[in-house]
Symmetry: C2
Subunit: 146 residues, 2 copies
Amino acid sequence: MTTGHLEHQIRSRLAAGGVRFTDGRRRVVAALAEADGPRSAAELHAALGTSIPLSSLYRSLSVMADAGALAHHHGSKGVTRYELAEWLTGHHHHLVCVDCGTVDDIELSEDLETTLQNVVKRVAKSAGFAADGHTLEIDGLCTDCQ
Amino acid sequence: MTTGHLEHQIRSRLAAGGVRFTDGRRRVVAALAEADGPRSAAELHAALGTSIPLSSLYRSLSVMADAGALAHHHGSKGVTRYELAEWLTGHHHHLVCVDCGTVDDIELSEDLETTLQNVVKRVAKSAGFAADGHTLEIDGLCTDCQ
DNA sequence: TTCCTTGCAAACGATTTGCATTGGA
DNA sequence: TCCAATGCAAATCGTTTGCAAGGAA
């Protein structure tokens, strides 16, 4: 079990904030790295064989998000799902199933992404809004729920 | 107090689903029509002078959303905000404040919107996803929270 | 008369927090 | 040694639901 590049990046980022990268957190990160989209605390709890109590999971997710290692997404039924921050995974967008709530990551072509960024910049500026990110959310039914 | 075009449209839509457009619901719709973005049950409760109990508010919002008159948006801290459906207000996107959670509506230029729609269609199809809507969410700090 | 809506109170479920204990650097 | 992390139980908080009374068609 070698310490990969991803773990190294996260460890440094967390350390900068006085946050420890414990074994449990390493396993949470691994689960998120394997996922193809954001995951909720409950989903991670199950994925990790319930080995980490929900309260610890919630605390670790929130701490790692505060440190900038994770990003969160708010879905239906008040469920928050976490994923690795974009500086770790690259910029992407979301396919959100309105039925089961699952979220899948997608990437846009480089040219549309550029166009999008220009528009975001322009629109935000004209609204006096300090934009720091954007996501195109596509709502609909995933293959399982159709 | 005349019955405007908007109320007429909503009344018909609700009626089609066996849903009544009561006085309380009319006031909720009026509050949403005046807002410049989605509003939570708590925000509406306050805006209406707490005259409508939260439970009734939640029930009305959910019933009207099911009937297709309202749409919902999921924001930080697990708060759901409602707004008039797009067939009533026109298609738009969101400026989401990561600090206070407020959401403001914005419209894109027609050409970018068209481009966006094409990409959504293409991306969804290739993922086997049945898309029925999309929103560009711009996260950042609103003028108040900067 | 039939069915929808309303209010209140109780129930829920996701998430948070207090506190004592354990563990890492 | 010192401060952060962990676990459990209790507490929060947004939202939902059961039920009896009120209202519209």
